[in-house]
Amino acid sequence: MLDKPIVMRARLRDDVVSVKALITHPMERGDRVSNDSGEILPPHFIQEVICETGGRVVLTALLSGEVARDPFLAFSFRGANKGDTVKITWVDNRGNSGSSETAVE
């Protein structure tokens, strides 16, 4: 499940690139009881998401287990052109990480 690519899109309109990203991750806060085992599921959530383009970091998101399952992020920035690469990388509390990139369209 953790190696699923990030579903992401970056669109340029009027000099502003709008990014939408959906990361597949359980985002367990550490207080939920498993339907299967009846035991409390340990914390398992993304702590940090970075969005980079053109060698600069445009966004650093620091997250908690309060963020909903399969985190969705939307944001926008200036200073990129069509075809430029936008890369998103995440790391969770267990040290797992994932990364995907897309071209600005």
Binding site: D3, A61, E66, V67, A68, A74, G95
Partner: protein, 158 residues
């Protein structure tokens, strides 16, 4: 962590994603851009002023009409989710943080804005009860905030 940057660059290029993940899991390798330390104490703080001080170095916020919060609750199979958009036209924004007033650990997420970022961020939170959501915007000058109530009784979520 004392890893020679050149060696790390070589490792990044040479290893497969799976091996990278294993190494990262073992604490041997951290993606180069992810070296910021996740502020554990701020996220574990049980009071808003404490969380803000630990996260942003200050807890004094000024109410601002230049921050807007849009909240859209959804019923979900495992509880309830709320889509949140925080938008500000304040100048020189460094970060936008979202806190859930009634949560045992109020700080939910914080977004550091790099050069060129617009003052807007959207995400979704798990929110179990009706209550207040607080957005705190850090500018180069000070902290500004605004708050908005989310009502989960109407959507069948609560």
């Amino acid at each position: 962590m004392s890893v020679d940057p050149k060696r790390r660059f070589f490792l990044k290029g040479a290893l497969t994603t799976g091996a990278m993940t294993m190494l990262a899991g073992a604490g041997l390798l951290t993606p180069r851009s992810l070296l910021a330390v996740w502020p554990k104490e701020a996220f574990e703080a049980d009071a808003i002023p404490q969380a803000l001080t630990l996260l942003l170095g200050d807890s004094q916020t000024r109410e601002s009409g230049s921050i807007r919060i849009k909240l859209t609750p959804h019923a979900d199979s495992s509880g309830s989710e709320v889509s949140i958009m925080v938008k500000t036209d304040l100048p020189d924004v460094e970060s936008i943080s979202i806190l859930v007033a009634d949560s045992p650990t109020p700080l939910a997420a914080s977004f550091r804005l790099g050069a060129g970022m617009e003052g807007s961020i959207s995400t979704r939170l798990k929110i179990a009860k009706s209550g207040e959501i607080i957005a705190v915007v850090k500018t180069q000058q000070r902290l500004f905030s605004t708050r908005k109530s989310v009502d989960l009784t109407g959507c069948g979520c609560e």
